[in-house]
């Protein structure tokens, strides 16, 4: 049976700096949860508090309703994988993985069996006698994982597990970890600043910022309905446009319509993803094409109108059909987005004006 984690109003300061501010979080048994945020958002600190590497100033952490904070790190049953692996440099791969078992004074035969099993799991049987310095980054990461799994932890914590690896290795390891999790079903928390990684791997994602949790949800929910302006911007590029609302119609301050929204009258900020911006050539349009950058399959177009600049994204094929050229005039249609108030809160969906959409066949 997998372990559930309950985190209740956890707080931690380093000197005057509040790193974690009243963080509460429930992790379901067997869940694979990502802690996503920019550096300094407190995600690593949260992980270290759960592991017992640091002590919180307030709040509590429970594993299956059992107080974890009262227990020493070694009694918590936590496996921790460090960002820079932290393998024991003076031990072979085999001895690194065997460490937890040797500490427990497990019988030799058991150590042999268990380590061999783990070596097979990480597909490094042939490298058992190597030292960490003789391994590649991806191999070291897998050894670190095997070492953390050796004592069969209740909870697995991974701090930026793929942070120091190149893109291809990272993608392979990610798939492998997902597969491993499905097989072993250990409650797993991992920290990352890479949005793609979090969304690709995790069942649910926690977005952290400034020591607080901004949003918690499945990847698709978070992407579709960001809780605030920070989350919206953190999850990908956004066009930010100052706007005002009158009778449900949303108008950019630079003087073009953005669509409709059920938001209160007055000023707001519109956040629109580049793929919700559709430009097309029109000699009498109010927009100027400033720049076109085609990178392989994707194309980005920068346009301006009355001082406002927006970026549009589309496939390179679609770009050919639009007939857009740098310096030419164009029309722009907005097909979605989110409005936030002046504090970046209270999100409201922007919906496109139907006739305008129909005109460009979106």
């Amino acid at each position: 049976m997998s372990t559930a984690i309950e985190i209740n109003r956890l707080a931690k300061s380093f000197g005057p700096h509040k790193v974690l501010n009243d963080v509460s979080l429930d992790v379901a048994p067997g869940e694979l949860l990502a802690l996503l945020g920019p550096s300094g958002s407190g995600k690593t600190t949260l992980l270290r508090l759960i592991a017992g590497l640091d002590q919180p100033d307030a709040g509590d952490v429970k594993f299956d309703r059992d107080d974890a904070l009262g227990r020493k790190p070694k009694e918590r049953g936590v496996g921790f994988v460090f960002q820079h692996y932290a393998l024991f440099r003076h031990m072979t791969v085999f001895e690194n993985i065997a460490f937890a078992l040797r500490i427990k004074k497990a019988p030799k035969a058991e150590v042999q069996t268990r380590v061999t099993e783990l070596l097979k799991l990480i597909q490094l049987e042939s490298l058992a006698a190597r030292y960490p310095a003789q391994l590649s980054g991806g191999q070291r990461q897998r050894v670190a994982l095997a070492r953390a799994l050796a004592s069969q932890p209740r909870v697995l914590l991974l701090d930026e597990p793929f942070g120091a690896l190149d893109a291809v290795v990272r993608r392979d390891l990610r798939r492998w970890l997902r597969h491993l999790h499905e097989e072993m079903n250990i409650t797993t928390l991992f920290v990352t600043h890479d949005q793609e990684e979090a969304f690709d791997l995790a069942d649910r994602v926690v977005i952290m910022h400034g020591g607080k949790i901004c949003q918690l949800g499945t990847p698709i929910d978070i992407y579709r309905s960001p809780a605030d302006a920070f989350v919206h911007e953190f999850l990908g590029e956004s066009n930010r446009l100052a706007a005002h609302i009158r009778g449900g119609a949303v108008q950019a301050d630079a003087g073009f319509p953005l669509g409709h929204a059920a938001a209160p009258e007055g000023a707001a900020m519109a956040y629109i993803r580049p793929h919700h911006v559709t430009p097309f050539a029109n000699p009498r349009g109010g927009w100027t094409v400033n720049r076109i950058a085609a990178t392989g399959a994707a194309a980005r177009i920068t346009l301006s109108h009355n001082g406002a600049v927006v970026e549009a994204a589309m496939t390179a094929d679609a770009l050919l059909e639009t007939g857009l050229a740098v310096g030419a005039m164009a029309e722009v249609v907005f097909s979605g987005g989110t409005l936030f108030d002046q504090d970046g809160k209270t999100p409201v969906k922007l919906t496109a004006d139907r006739p305008a959409l129909a005109a460009v066949g979106v």
Partner: protein, 275 residues
């Protein structure tokens, strides 16, 4: 290419002139009156007592500095405390003070007219002109060797492996014995070898505090000098050859250890070169 060959030849010649020549001369002078005389001059009870003295001093001074070096590197690498930089500076002090001055300082502290002299005499405890004084002088002079090797190493290696050991269930003592100490072991080995060589060869400070009582408070280095002063060249070189042999044994020991752990050393060095 010619430039490179010239540089290498120059380095080799320099080595031969300043390192190999003296070694050869020491042994050839020691054996100048034949092997039998060599053995006889070493068989002198005074030489025997000097060997014992030298080994005793090293056997106390080296472990003392190992303990101190490990503690200092542990504290300096792990904690940021008030006086940390002062400690780092103070560790270097013995390097920058002449050993003779160090010996004199000790006499001023523990000699019969010294600061603690009265108290020591009243309690019938002799430091100056006896083994305790010579041990203290040697510890002072060899103080930085182990610490200097370990501090930069411990700082560079950081605290990550210890934290990993914590999460893997190790206790404080287990972490120290299985992680912290082994990862420092090469630095420790070099530190111990250097410290030992210096402890056995120390002359200045020990000569001031020993009182040079031939056959009682003589170390090997001091014996070489007193024999040399009494124009017994052959015997002086015979004792000097013992010191030279100690140096050679140290080198062989180091080479043997490096050979035994060549895989690990090779891997670590390559990784260091890469980063």
């Amino acid at each position: 290419m010619a430039g490179r060959a010239a540089l290498i030849t120059a380095a080799m010649l320099f080595m031969a002139l300043f390192l190999v020549c003296p070694l050869v001369i020491v042994f050839s002078q020691a054996l100048s009156a034949g092997f039998f005389t060599y053995i006889t001059s070493l068989n002198d009870p005074n030489v025997g007592s000097a060997v014992l003295m030298t080994l005793t001093i090293a056997a106390i001074a080296v472990p003392a500095n190992v303990v101190f070096g490990i503690l200092a590197s542990w504290c300096i690498a792990r904690f940021d405390f008030w006086g940390r930089n002062l400690l780092i500076t103070l560790i270097d002090l013995p390097f920058s003070i002449s050993p003779v001055v160090a010996g004199l300082l000790e006499v001023l502290l523990f000699g019969s007219n010294g600061l603690f002299g009265g108290w020591l005499e009243a309690n019938n405890f002799q430091i100056i002109f006896a083994l305790p004084g010579m041990v203290i002088a040697t510890i002072f002079v060899t103080f930085p060797f182990v610490a200097r090797e370990l501090i930069p190493l411990a700082q560079e290696q950081g605290n990550d492996e210890e934290e990993a050991a914590v999460t893997l269930g190790a206790s404080g003592l287990q972490i120290f014995l299985r992680v912290s100490l082994p990862k420092l072991r090469w630095g420790l080995l070099y530190g111990v070898l250097l410290c030992n060589a210096r402890a056995m060869g120390e002359f200045g400070a020990v000569s001031v505090v020993s009182g040079k009582i031939y056959g009682s408070t003589d170390t090997l280095s001091l014996a070489v000098e007193s024999l040399y002063e009494s124009y017994d060249m052959q015997a002086a070189f015979a004792v000097a050859s013992l010191l030279a042999m100690l140096a050679l044994v140290t080198l062989v020991l180091k080479a043997a250890l490096e050979y035994r752990h060549r895989d690990e050393l090779h891997a670590t060095r390559k990784a260091k070169a890469k980063s």
